[in-house]
């Protein structure tokens, strides 16, 4: 099945499986849609006009390429390896999510779909979706859990400013998982005209592969920029993992570079040994949710457990199937970082580099703080700084006991 022998970059297979993970576990009503999406995506991939349009938008609308920034003071502070930050926070809308949304809305247009829906956790994907929907003049509905609406107010307002309708989801844990359920319900009821822009490398095939492909621009740029600056590849590549889209995009171009170690960082919430965490790979087990087989937080009866993280973007009990596959084969090592550690990383980067990171990549920063000491001084680390932290100032202030 693999076209390139001995490559970890050839997956998934024709049915969307990454080893034992992935697939298409959706209701029969959605299957024809999922299959036609796959066909449309395969056709678009082969069409130079599609790539040209996407690349033009990434340059002139998003502001790519994003810088690979040498974090001099963080490097000095940790006293170890050279740390580079891939500045996805400088993209239009403030996170990596826009890379994927542009790709998908171009596809929606090719398929003749006239209405856009999406789910969102932190609101970054919702904002990015509302943005591209505005840019292309398509009506847009965003599903968001009640809890997330409360903790991500600035993004809710942004989405509304952009003309999107934000629908509050009050079922289940009232976070990203439940917003995803609701978006799936909308999709199945509006299959004729609606395109569902999934925000992460989750969902039924072809979404995990397609979203990864649209995000791979992150890793491709990082690899080229690193070769240009340092004349070599990094020793360690790090990204935070919720559903896992910024990580998938950052990691993918490095998967076959055996000298590059890769770490994904999950949210440990209050700690992985407490019930309040979102460390799906560290503490979960394989199951099927939202269209794919992957690691899940679940009980012995297959009921989905509620995830917890200070970061709304990581607060999800599942993870992209490709990450499950990469974990099992050991190519990527997955670690976890607590709310408190992430908060410390957030503060540290703000004060040392003048960059307020989103709470999601603050987990990656915190992880690097832990492992830098074990590395050599001339080693190089590349961290995906997937988004900016403006949206998080309210939650951080609350944690610090300050009123804004």
């Amino acid at each position: 099945m693999n076209q390139i022998p001995n490559s970890l970059r050839a997956g998934p297979d024709a049915n969307g499986h990454f080893g034992a993970y992935g697939g298409r576990f959706v209701a029969e009503t959605l299957m024809p849609l999922v299959l036609s999406l796959e066909q449309a995506y395969e056709a678009a991939k082969k069409d130079p006009a599609f790539h040209e349009e996407l690349s033009g938008l990434l340059t002139h609308y998003v502001g790519r390429e994003s810088p690979l920034y040498f974090a001099e003071r963080l490097t000095a502070h940790l006293g170890g390896p050279k740390i580079y930050l891939k500045r996805e926070d400088l993209n239009h809308t403030g996170a990596h999510k826009i890379n994927n949304c542009l790709g998908q809305i171009l596809l929606a247009r090719r398929m003749g779909k006239t209405r856009i829906i999406a789910e969102t956790g932190a609101g970054q994907h919702g904002v990015a979706t509302a943005t591209v929907a505005a840019r292309f003049g398509l009506p847009c509905t965003i599903y968001m859990g009640e809890v997330d609406i409360e903790r991500q107010k600035p993004n809710v307002f942004r989405m509304r400013l952009l003309g999107a309708e934000v629908r509050s989801v009050s079922s289940g844990s009232r976070t990203l998982k439940d917003a995803t359920n609701e978006a799936l319900r909308d999709w199945v009821a509006n299959v004729h005209d609606t395109f569902y822009i999934i925000g992460s490398v989750v969902g039924p095939h072809p979404y995990p592969a397609m979203v990864r492909d649209f995000q791979t621009v992150i890793g491709n740029e990082t690899r080229a920029q690193m070769l240009d600056r340092e004349k070599r590849l990094p020793d360690l590549v790090v990204a935070c993992v919720g559903g896992g889209s910024n990580a998938a995009g950052m990691f993918h171009p490095f998967l076959d570079d055996t000298g590059v170690e890769i770490h994904g960082v999950e949210a440990a919430g209050d700690g992985v040994d407490t019930p309040r965490h979102a460390a799906t790979l560290s503490k979960g087990s394989p199951g099927v949710l939202h269209g794919a087989r992957s690691y899940l937080l679940q009980d012995g009866d297959g009921q989905i457990l509620e995830a917890h993280s200070i970061s709304a973007g990581l607060d999800y009990p599942g993870i992209g199937p490709e990450h499950s596959w990469l974990k099992d084969m050991g190519r990527v090592k997955y670690y976890s970082v607590t709310d408190q550690e992430a908060l410390d990383g957030f503060m540290l980067l703000s004060k040392l580099e003048g960059i307020i990171p989103a709470l999601e990549p603050a987990h990656a920063i915190a992880h690097v703080c832990k492992v830098a000491g074990q590395m050599k001084k001339d080693d190089i680390i590349a961290i995906c700084l997937s988004g900016r932290g403006d949206k998080d100032i309210f939650s951080v202030a609350e944690k610090l006991g300050e009123k804004l």
């Binding site: 509006n190 299959v191 199951g287 099927v288």
Partner: protein
């Protein structure tokens, strides 16, 4: 002959459609839902769809979601659901029971073990909402080996080529989803169902039931003229929600009253006529 085949053969002889109520096992608690289950056949249920509660029922509307939440809150587990079927089967040897739910429940139990355990409990068929034909072999094969049918869906988005693939490995019966959407939110479109039944009958002799969007006696009667079975779920579990405050006896009485009414309309609809 399986209980499902025997039931559909008998219904054909009588010239009537099956009435298929759906309830969620454990809603609002195991005891009450068993009290409902054991009386469903005497109220006119020909086949029973028994829901396995799941935390994230993506294909269901608000009524069935709420019913799943109630069941889980009351402590429903797969083991208890199977015990309930076992108890039912001791007294009722003929009414087929079809378990309906989501794949993670099956997956967590292990597909082979699941097939064995449901067969042992007396289950006749399985409906797994998020297990399309591309992925269903892993359950279909072990289930068949145990004499349990995996019921496949046909929907308004199923084209003719796909329909042929669906019926190729189907057994028991087919379930036609009458509306593109979640359960219990839109009304069944009769003309589309008529056309769909014609398409289905052109490619298979398997019986075909229709569900999603049937709430009233009129709708049940109309669909009974077109299909081999009429499935009602949201309206029935809605009776659980509506009467919870009035006590469990009231819940049982109202659910059974509605079942009786809908079954009556379903059974009377054809007056012995077999649809063309």
């Amino acid at each position: 002959m399986s209980r499902l085949s025997a039931k559909f053969a008998a219904l054909k002889k009588e010239g009537r459609a099956a009435f298929v109520p759906f309830i969620t096992a454990g809603d609002p608690d195991m005891e009450t839902s068993f009290a409902i289950l054991e009386k469903l056949p005497s109220c006119g249920a020909d086949i029973i769809e028994l829901g396995m509660p799941f935390t994230d029922p993506m294909a269901d509307g608000p009524a069935v979601q709420a019913s799943s939440v109630r069941a889980l809150k009351s402590g429903a587990t797969l083991a208890k659901v199977l015990k309930m079927v076992e108890k039912f089967r001791k007294a009722d040897k003929t009414t087929p029971i079809v378990l309906m739910g989501y794949y993670n429940t099956v997956h967590a139990h292990g597909t082979a073990r699941f097939a064995k355990d449901v067969a042992a409990a007396g289950v006749d068929g399985l409906i797994v909402v998020d297990l399309p034909i591309e992925e269903d072999e892993v359950l279909r094969v072990p289930a068949h080996a145990q004499g349990v049918d995996l019921i496949r869906f046909v929907t308004p988005t199923t084209d003719d080529a796909r329909l042929k693939r669906i019926v190729a490995d189907a057994s028991g019966y087919l379930y036609y989803v009458s509306v593109a959407g979640v359960t219990g939110t839109k009304s069944v479109p009769e003309d589309e169902v008529r056309a769909a039944m014609a398409r289905v009958r052109a490619v298979t002799d398997l019986p075909c039931t229709v569900g999603f969007g049937i709430r009233t006696q009129e709708q049940a009667a109309a669909i009974a003229l077109l299909a081999d079975g009429v499935v009602v779920g949201s309206a029935i579990v809605g009776q659980v929600a509506a009467n919870l405050n009035a006590g469990k006896d009231k819940v049982i009485a109202e659910v059974l009253d509605l079942t009786r009414a809908l079954a009556g309309s379903t059974h009377a609809a054809r007056h012995g006529k077999v649809p063309a």
